[in-house]
């Protein structure tokens, strides 16, 4: 790139210097952009911690994390987050039970058993599914699923963890499908051929070689679907009934962490204890999603190493 310059090539030398300077600037910008993601993430964490400080000091971290009563407006307020955490877990659990089997099966179908045309059409539909705003899913859930759940299970209300979870599961399906499909697609064709050449049918090959070979990618897909489900706010706010009590089954109304923040943030005094507690809820949520994404990344990295023979 930079040729060793002789004394006579003064002009070339000058040009090389400007080019070097330009390169350095470009490099600095690229580095900065690369670091930006980390800086923003760090800033969010610090911001959440800073604003949760009062909650930790006055309500106590352990008391909040293990408390079973959420009465933020009584005096003194009770800030037990466990009902919210459990609410999120129940809803997310149902969502996983919906999106994992459906999403993985659909990915297998698209990747292994469909022709080019069907594949393209399915992929467009899935992209479209991902683009529908969550409030629209919520609306459909209100109109269709709430009455159905109430009647089918003979409940007093159709606004339950189950209802929210089902809709959340449907919303997470595109994530699970597209990432699982990528993982299946990345399995080398030679492996499928090797299995077929040993007298295996398409199905046998799929279950014995292709899916196991893509398993880490499928796991990551599930984790990302989980992250999507746990962070979703609007649809759960519309569908779960928002009762901040300790849930005992998925057929009860629950309140999720996201729903709580969204619903209560408008009514709190800025800088007050309740305000700070909501930031603490946000911090818990942030920690959980961060851990999920980190785990997914680690698994993916392990798979990548494995394929690099």
């Amino acid at each position: 790139m930079t040729t060793p310059s002789t004394p006579s090539s003064g002009r070339r030398l000058g040009r090389t210097t400007t080019r070097r300077a330009a390169e350095a600037v470009v490099r600095a910008i690229i580095y900065l952009c690369g670091w930006m993601a980390i800086i923003i993430l760090g800033a969010i964490a610090v911001f959440l911690m800073w604003n949760s400080l009062r909650a930790v000091q006055e309500a106590g971290l352990v008391t909040m994390l293990t408390g079973t009563a959420w009465y933020p407006t009584s005096s003194p307020g009770k800030f037990g987050m466990l009902p919210l955490i459990l609410g999120s877990l129940f809803v997310t659990g149902v969502a996983l039970a919906v999106c994992v089997p459906v999403g993985v099966a659909a990915a297998v179908f698209i990747s292994e058993f469909s022709g080019r045309l069907v594949k393209e059409v399915m992929k467009s539909i899935i992209e479209f599914m991902a683009a529908v705003p969550s409030v629209v899913y919520g609306l459909i859930g209100v109109a269709v699923l709430i009455p159905f759940v109430r009647q089918f299970f003979g409940l007093d209300t159709g606004m339950t963890a189950l209802t929210g979870g089902i809709v959340l599961g449907i919303m997470s399906i595109p994530t699970v499908i597209s990432i699982s499909e990528d993982a299946l697609h990345a399995v080398p064709a030679e492996l499928r051929q090797g299995s077929a050449a040993l007298g295996n049918t398409r199905w046998q090959t799929t279950f014995k070689v292709t899916i196991p070979a893509a398993s880490s990618g499928i796991f990551a897909a599930v984790m990302l679907g989980l992250g999507r489900a746990i962070g979703e706010t609007m649809a759960v706010l519309m569908l779960t009934g928002n009762a901040a009590v300790m849930p005992t089954s998925i057929f009860e109304s629950v309140r999720t962490m996201t729903g709580t923040i969204a619903a209560e943030m408008g009514e709190v005094v800025q800088g007050g204890l309740h305000y700070s507690v909501l930031f603490a809820v946000g911090l818990v949520l942030f920690t959980i999603t961060f851990a999920i994404n980190l785990a997914a990344d680690l698994v993916l990295e392990r798979q990548r190493k494995r394929w690099r023979r």
Binding site: L191, A197, L198, T201
Partner: protein, 294 residues
């Protein structure tokens, strides 16, 4: 060039109105079928192959004797891999492939509905150009085929695994680490593992498509030694670009040639390897073998 190709009702390939095999003066293969109780001999008559409308092989007549090594040679793109894949119906996997003529294995047709490809592939194994072990342990790789065939008993599987690994000359190197992941083996070991994997289903024939082309000289040597060992029990059909290799390891050699892109490939000559390499009948064979083209 696009040659109009049709598959007629009985499965034979026709174009320009007549069956393909009738339009070419085929090279006759005079080898006599020595099948006594020997298993694993192929007979090909008027075999033509088209990808979509593109006819790439035409009118191949060939006998592949049992328990011997037959080498397929010829310039790149002359249809060696395509012909090899006809023998275990792996072309079926590609879709839009039409095959005409007749191919029999031990006298039984393997074409169309006459043979279930899944059953055929248990009798005719394949080793690919690049080692393709499955992402599982050495043991599970070898046991893969037998498990497909329904073998479940641990003792029986253990026996098959040992026998197959010995057959592929890999046993001594891995007998203490059968649980190790197959990807931890070297390229040459992986390829011998793939040979062991193919042996485990007790095939009559093993097809090898340039099995050593991705390997170093020492690994290549080991593969060649393995082939020499194996031919007493299985028929081997090997595609190779390495003339010395074909001369060293094969009993018979078939030379294919596609003279221009406008026409399909033909079988130019087939015969005993020694004769093919010292005194071939066709001068194109001689030019190719002596490296004048291809």
């Amino acid at each position: 060039m696009v040659t109009p190709v049709l598959v007629s009702g009985d499965g034979t390939l026709v174009y320009n109105g007549g069956p393909v095999s009738a339009t070419v003066p085929a090279v006759r293969d005079e080898a006599i079928d020595t099948t006594g109780d020997a298993r694993g001999s192929f007979s090909l008559a008027g075999v033509s192959v088209a990808y979509g409308k593109d006819l790439v092989i035409e009118g191949v007549d060939m006998h592949i004797p049992p328990q011997a090594v037959t080498a397929l040679i010829g310039p790149s793109g002359c249809g060696k891999s395509t012909l090899l894949r006809c023998l275990n119906r792996m072309n079926d996997e590609l879709g839009n492939v039409h095959i005409g003529g007749t191919i029999t294995l031990d006298g039984q047709s393997i074409m169309g509905k006459a043979m279930d490809p899944v059953e055929l592939r248990m009798r005719v194994g394949q080793v690919f150009q690049r080692p393709n072990p499955f992402p599982m342990s050495i043991y599970d790789n070898v046991a893969y085929g037998p498990r497909t065939q329904g073998v479940r008993r641990r003792g029986e599987l253990d026996g098959l695994v040992e026998e197959s690994l010995k057959g592929a000359a890999l046993w001594e190197e891995v007998k203490k680490s059968l649980k190790k992941h197959a990807f931890e083996l070297s390229g040459g070991q992986q390829q011998r593992l793939c040979i062991a994997r193919a042996l485990a289903t007790k095939p009559e024939v093993i097809l090898m498509d340039e099995p050593a082309s991705a390997l170093d000289p020492i690994s290549t040597q080991q593969i060649e030694d393995t082939i020499a060992e194996l031919k007493s029990s299985v028929t081997i059909v090997i595609v190779t670009h390495n003339m010395q290799q074909a001369a060293r390891i094969s009993d018979r050699t078939a030379f294919m040639l596609r003279e221009s892109l406008e026409e399909p490939a033909h079988l130019v000559e087939i015969g005993d390897t020694k004769k093919m390499f010292t005194n071939p009948d066709d001068e194109r064979t001689e030019s190719y073998i002596t490296g004048r083209f291809g």
